[in-house]
Amino acid sequence: MRKIVRLAISDYKRRWNKPVLILLYIFTPVVLSLIMWLAFGGAGKNHDFAPLRIAVVNKDKDGLLSEFMVNALNNEKTKKHIKTFIVTEEKAREMINHRKVSGIIIFPEGFSKDILNEKKTEITLIKNPTETIYPLIAETGLDLVKDGTNYFLAIFHDEIGVIRQAVEKDEKINSVTLTSMYNNIGDKITRLTPLFTDKKIVVEDIKKKKKGTSLAIYFFAGMSFFFMFFISNAILLDMVKERNKFIIKRLFLSELKKKEYYFARLVSTVVFIFTIELVLAVTGRLLFGIKVDSLFWLFAALVISALLLSLCSAFIMGISRNEKQAHNYGMIFVFLFAILGGSLIPVSALPAAVRGLSVISPLYYMTESMISLSTHDMDRFFQVLKIATIIAAGLFVISWFLNIKKLKKIVR
């Protein structure tokens, strides 16, 4: 035990020999995910990206408010960001299935009436379950709609009385009134104070009740694990390099056993990866505002991902005959797992045939664990954590066998 600890500590110390390289390892995923995050909308600022395509189903026939909002969504200014298709629910579902739209917004029957009577009502957002990113934007879009409605109610607080009367008398408000109200928005907005905070509309994902996934966690976790995988490969490549050096013979000339050597190597790698992960987690919190409820489960997930990454690398080293091979296999696995696992391209954007393969990428489970943890979806979190642990256990056994066999060839 003392030997393992000693060797692992020396190993860990050696890792810090090139601090600049480590900083690079940390900064690269941060910078890359920052760029992608901004490219895909950042913190709701204006950016040029392809307009969001949404199907709108208005079941609130002749409802004033829904009509107003549908118009607002179709407005010249919003067209740049949101392209709407006003269709029936049936058609909308067809469109989402064919990935023509990223989401469906449904205004329920009696929507306008309920709002005017200050009764709670809800707009439904249906997300395309195979898409990861665009529904996020759809949610953001819907948030805009929601906020817009709230603003509308705030701005036209005075006029609401008139509207309500008109509705009660079942009169139609003439379009001139509506247009003048609409044109007044600019004036009124300057006078706007956040009086109206009471939310009238509940945004709800019909699949699961959860808060919207932030884009930041998606990109940041994916990129980070992708780079961590690079690092763990680079560290354990050292073990392959060492096979041809006398230093390993010198280790085994002492009382150190082969399994102790391998175990110490693994431990120091896991601890090192975990250290970098902690730095990245703090960075994620500070830079992207990623929050989790349970620090305990965050640590647990980070430990398991550090273990899983190290074991993936150990497996690669175990199947490699020499340094060059280890390097090549490392590259292949890093990119394969990163692409399948959604670190580089969102899983939803993968061709359907490949998408199913994401389950073989350990990076997929790591990223998913972080997303589910930060979106408070604990069911999903425990599910992926369990799978990650099982994969880690399997890899531990296989790579143990492979690496010890390689070591036995070096010294009799």
């Binding site: 030997k3 060797l7 009382e255 009799r412």
Partner: protein, 309 residues
């Protein structure tokens, strides 16, 4: 006592060792002298249990080392031809690491590391990473790591390769004056002066074979050549030729007015010769002893010249 019996080893078609045998006594510095490719490293790898021989056996105090590798590894220290430690760590950290791996307690390891750093002249560079060391310092640390656990037998494989003359002399002195006190040493080299100065006994190796072995004196005696002594001075031929050297061990081989050359069988009689000259009022200005040396022997045995340059 280490007994090596008829060790053979081939790598594919290359016969690296064609059956070598020798013995190393306790407290001895035994040298394996041979050019590159002679099989020195292969021999040491087998003796240190790192690779198996094709045939032959090695006994230490009557025990077969191949049947008890774990026991044997505790008894030996190995200083390889290449630098073998972690350059990203300090010298002390390296020593503490191997100390722990050899089962020393923390206290023992710290004491031993401190002692060895001082002995090896690395004390002032204690906190520096080894990557900043000079070649000579790295070589000294390489040796220190081989003896951190106080082995009974130390194997050194060309431990001074690639460093300057001063650093080499320094290492030889360390080995001869300090390290040797604790352990027997088996030392390989392709440098004549190292073998001459350091080793009590030598084996001359070439192409996987031991061509000759013994003390330096024994080896030179094998050469069958005699020591030549050249005197300069003012000599009268009559006087010199009339001198009775007393034994058949001295022969006058050349005479000229100011120099004479004598061939002697045993160097021990040279003082007697000098005394004889003085008794007979023969004036000597200089005396030069030309011994047959390892170089001539090596050349004769292997047809190779080991001197560098």
């Amino acid at each position: 006592m280490l007994t090596v019996e008829n060790i053979k080893k081939s790598f594919g078609t290359v016969q690296a060792l064609k059956g070598i045998s020798f013995e190393v006594n306790k407290g001895e510095i035994f040298g394996l002298l041979g050019p590159n490719g002679a099989g020195k490293t292969t021999a040491l790898s087998i003796l240190t249990s790192l690779i198996d021989p094709d045939s032959g056996s090695v006994f230490y105090d009557g025990e077969n080392i191949f049947s008890h590798p774990a026991w044997w590894r505790k008894k030996i220290g190995v200083v390889p031809q290449e630098i073998a430690f972690y350059e990203e760590l300090t010298a002390r950290d390296n020593l503490l690491l191997w100390g722990a791996l050899y089962g020393l307690s923390d206290k023992e390891a710290r004491e031993r590391a401190g002692y060895l750093l001082q002995l090896m002249g690395l004390g002032s560079k204690e906190k520096a990473k080894v990557s900043e060391f000079s070649g000579g310092m790295k070589r000294r640390l390489n040796i220190a790591l081989g003896i951190v656990h106080k082995p009974e037998v130390l194997f050194l494989d060309e431990p001074t390769v690639g460093i300057d003359v001063q650093a080499r002399v320094n290492i030889r002195e360390l080995l001869r004056n300090f390290i040797h006190e604790e352990m027997a040493i088996i030392y390989t080299t392709h440098q004549l002066e190292e073998a001459e100065e350091l080793c009590d006994r030598l084996a001359i190796m070439d192409e996987g074979e031991i061509r000759a072995q013994g003390t330096l004196k024994e080896l030179i005696a094998q050469l069958g050549e005699e020591t030549e002594v050249e005197f300069t001075g003012d000599f009268e031929e009559e006087t010199v030729r009339s001198l009775e050297f007393g034994t058949t061990n001295v022969r006058l081989s050349r005479f000229s007015g100011d120099s004479i050359l004598l061939e002697v069988k045993e160097e021990e009689i040279i003082p007697d010769i000098v005394e004889l000259f003085m008794k007979n009022d023969v004036t000597i200005n200089t005396m030069d002893i030309k011994r047959p040396n390892l170089e001539t022997l090596f050349l004769k045995l292997t047809g190779k010249n080991l001197r560098e340059g």
